[in-house]
């Protein structure tokens, strides 16, 4: 087992595809799947190895009602992935989540999900969220496993650069 560990948390609005994202990315049954009627009410959790790291991968609840879990899940995280639902576009929750992640001062990557249904231009996402060019914005489709590993690798690279591994 890898000696170095990373805690990565996937955030996103309701129905952005966070649970599918962590399921497909890890390629295994989740250790914990905290859902009720297909809505994550607590969190999802799985471990995977990637790039010589043992990744502790969490997905947060998207429903605003359970947002009190965000802080608990964000504690000690090394990096974050913000999932945006491209069929809905940028929502107020996405703006809120960007601010939330920025408060933790950790590297993050934006995954513009559901690219198999609808595509959002990363440039427009960047502009609408007012984020710098240094933040990777990647079109993904969790359901067909498109670019999920790229998202994680980008994040690992950013974390590694920050920590000068």
């Amino acid at each position: 087992m890898s000696e170095d560990m990373l805690k990565v948390v996937v955030f996103g609005a309701l129905n952005a595809g966070k649970t599918t994202f962590v399921e497909k990315l890890s390629g295994q049954k989740l250790f914990l799947k905290g859902e009720y009627e297909n809505i994550t009410t607590s969190f999802d959790f799985v471990q995977m190895e990637q790039g010589n790291f043992l990744i502790h991968l969490f997905a947060s609840p998207g429903h605003r009602r359970f947002s009190f879990m965000w802080d608990t899940l964000a504690t000690g995280m090394d990096g974050a992935i913000l999932l945006i639902d491209s069929t809905v576009g940028i929502t107020p929750v996405d703006h809120e989540l960007i601010k939330f992640i920025l408060n933790y001062d950790v590297p993050y990557v934006i995954a513009v999900n559901k690219n198999d249904i609808c595509s959002l231009e990363p440039t427009n996402v960047r502009k609408e969220l007012d984020i710098s060019d240094e933040i990777p914005v990647i079109n993904t489709s969790a359901i067909i496993n498109q670019n999920l590993v790229n998202v994680l690798d980008s994040l690992i690279q950013t974390i590694a650069e920050k920590n000068i591994v």
Binding site: L6, K7, L32, F43, Q47, H56, F58, G76, D78
Partner: protein
């Protein structure tokens, strides 16, 4: 990036108590300290989440600070105690365990953990 540290010695005193099945230390990030396998990872992550949810509950109804969390099942009790600013200890007990004794020894063990933490830092 996290480096794993073992609290094995300090946990031995808890595990010796009659009725204690197992005990582990976890960070408030939900990652176990010491032995990492699927079970300890699940226990750490879910316990920290439960602790966060219950803390939110006591805060929202203005019912004081959370000191200890105890979960009762038909298998036994799970005692969760936070210590320092970054760790929790989780104790799994048998149904017939002497909870009073465990809580006393747990408090003593928490002090030992604190000393160890200071030495590490």
């Amino acid at each position: 990036m996290k480096t794993n540290t073992s609290f094995k010695e300090a946990l031995t005193s808890i595990n010796r108590i009659n009725g204690v099945k197992d005990s582990i230390v976890a960070g408030l990030d939900g990652i176990p300290v010491g032995k990492i396998d699927k079970n300890t990872s699940i226990l750490s992550a879910s316990t920290v989440a439960a602790l966060g949810a219950v803390r939110e509950m006591t805060r929202s109804i203005n019912y004081g600070n959370l000191e200890q969390l105890m979960i009762e099942t038909d298998f036994g009790k799970i005692i969760i105690e936070e210590f320092g600013k970054e760790h929790i200890v989780i104790v799994l007990t048998e149904n017939n365990a002497n909870i009073g004794m465990i809580r006393v020894i747990l408090k003593k063990a928490v002090k030992e953990f604190m000393v160890k933490l200071v030495n590490i830092q």
